[in-house]
Symmetry: C2
Subunit: 246 residues, 2 copies
C-alpha cells in the first residue's frame, strides 16, 4: 500500500480508493427512461454540485471557456459483487451478447461510467460551487469522480469506426399528450420545457429492447422529477397519459 | 459500506475501491517526453494486457469492430497525499494557473486519466488477452480501470469550444539525427519505425513550458524502450545525439 487513501495498493491485484468530488442532481430518478448516451437529449439538464473539500471556485477556474466536459462517475445503482464477461446491449435487440469491454453498459468490472455533457454555466454562490449541465444521461445522485474539459483536437474522432453503434439510435416514436397530461404540464412552472423534454425522451423509445407482444398497449412509468410519467405505445405512437404524483 | 470491494462507502465522503483490469506496456519509461494528449503521435504504440480474472476472450468480444477505445486509467506516478485546486498547464506557458478540473493534468483529486487510443488488434493467445494500441500517451506500467468503445455519435464533438486548448500543439521543431544516433537506430530491429517515432515526439518540443535561457543547447534525456534518448535544441532544431544504454 503506497498511501492510506488515493493510493494504489498492490497485492491481490492493484486496487485504488477514490472519493467522489461531486454529486449530480438530475431529473432522472430511476434508470428506466434515461437516454442511452449523453447528448442524445440536449434538453435533459442537470447540476453537478462539488462536494467539500472540492467546492473551491479556483478548482473550476477556466472551465467556463469549455462548452463540454467529461464526467467520470460511479454507476451507483449498478454495483454488483460479481462481474460478468458479457452483456446484452439494447442496440443489438437485447438478445445478442458482446464483451463487457465492447459496451458502455453500467454493469462492469469497475462500475464507472464516462459521459460528455454540455457545460451551460459555472455557478459560485458562497461555499456552493456547481456546474449547470445539458445533455445528461445520469441518474439523480450519481457520484462524480473527476471532471475534465473536452479537448476536441484529441477527443473528437468523427471518422472512428464504431462496431454495433455506428449512428445515434433512431427517434422512432411520435409523441402525443392526453388532455389530462397537457393540463398537468401547463400547471407546472416550466411547462413548455417539460413538454419538450418528455417528447425527446419518449421519441427514443425507452422500452426494453427485448420485449414480447404485451409491450403493445402496456402502460409504462418513468420517475422524472417529482412525478411518475405514465405512458404507453400503440402503433408507433407514444401517448403520455398522466404525471402521477410519486 | 455497501460491499467489501467495488462498493461505495458512505461516511467521510463517498469512496469507492476499484481494481485494475489491465496494465499498459508502452515505450514511455518516464513522464518526460510523453505526448500531452493521446493521438498526437499515432506512431506511439503500446499493448494493454488484461489482468486475471479479466483476461477472458469473451470480455472483449465485439471490440474488434471499433477503431478506437477509451481507457480510464490511474496516473500511477502522480499520486500525492494532498490535492491542489489549481495547476499550471504547459499550454499556458507553465506559468498561469487554472483550476485542476479545467485541465487534464495528472495531479488531480482522484489520480485518474482518460485517453482515446487506436485499437489496432485484439490478440488472444491462450490465457493472454491483450489489445494492440496506437497513439498512446501512457506511461509503461499504467494500471487501467476500464475499457470502453469510442462511440462517435456521442463522443465526437468537432464544434466544441475548447478554452485554452483550441487546437493541437504545433510541431515547432525540425528533427535531425547525429551520425552516431543514425547508426544506433539502424542496428535495431525496427529502425525506420523508431526513427519516425523519435521524430514525431521531438517535433512537439517536449521541453518544460517554463524554462530559462539555459534550455538552449542543454542536453535532455528521455527514457524510451531500453535506452535514454539524448537530444538538444538549438535555434528551432532538435538534434538527436545518441541512444544511451540505461
Amino acid at each position: 500500500m503506497l498511501h492510506s487513501r488515493g493510493g494504489l495498493h498492490r497485492g491481490r491485484g492493484m486496487e485504488i480508493t477514490l472519493r467522489a468530488v461531486g454529486i449530480v442532481h438530475s431529473p432522472f430518478k430511476e434508470k428506466f427512461g434515461i437516454p442511452r448516451q449523453s447528448g442524445l437529449v440536449p434538453e435533459a439538464c442537470g447540476r453537478l454540485e462539488l462536494l467539500p473539500p472540492y467546492n473551491r471556485p479556483e478548482a473550476v477556474a477556466g472551465l467556463e471557456g469549455y462548452s463540454h466536459i467529461w464526467l467520470q462517475f460511479v454507476f451507483h445503482q449498478a454495483i454488483r459483487e460479481r462481474w460478468q464477461p458479457t452483456v446484452r446491449p439494447p442496440r443489438l435487440g437485447g438478445n445478442a451478447r458482446v464483451g463487457v469491454f465492447a459496451s458502455r453498459a453500467p454493469y462492469r468490472p469497475n462500475p464507472i461510467g464516462l459521459s460528455v455533457v454540455g457545460l451551460e454555466a459555472v455557478v459560485v454562490d458562497g461555499e456552493r460551487v456547481s456546474l449547470s449541465l445539458s445533455g445528461v444521461d445520469l441518474l439523480d445522485g450519481t457520484p462524480v469522480l473527476d471532471i475534465k474539459p473536452y479537448v476536441a483536437y484529441a477527443d473528437s474522432l468523427p471518422q472512428a469506426r464504431c462496431g454495433f453503434a455506428p449512428a445515434a439510435p433512431p427517434r422512432c416514436l411520435t409523441v402525443h399528450f392526453s388532455e389530462r397530461a397537457q393540463e398537468q404540464i401547463a400547471r407546472r412552472g416550466d411547462g413548455e420545457g417539460l413538454r419538450v423534454l418528455i417528447t425527446r425522451l419518449l421519441e427514443l423509445d425507452p422500452r426494453p429492447a427485448y420485449r414480447g407482444d404485451e409491450a403493445q398497449g402496456r402502460t409504462y412509468g418513468i420517475r422524472l422529477y417529482d412525478f411518475d410519467l405514465r405512458w404507453r405505445v400503440t402503433a408507433g405512437r407514444a401517448e403520455v397519459l398522466e404525471l402521477a404524483p410519486l
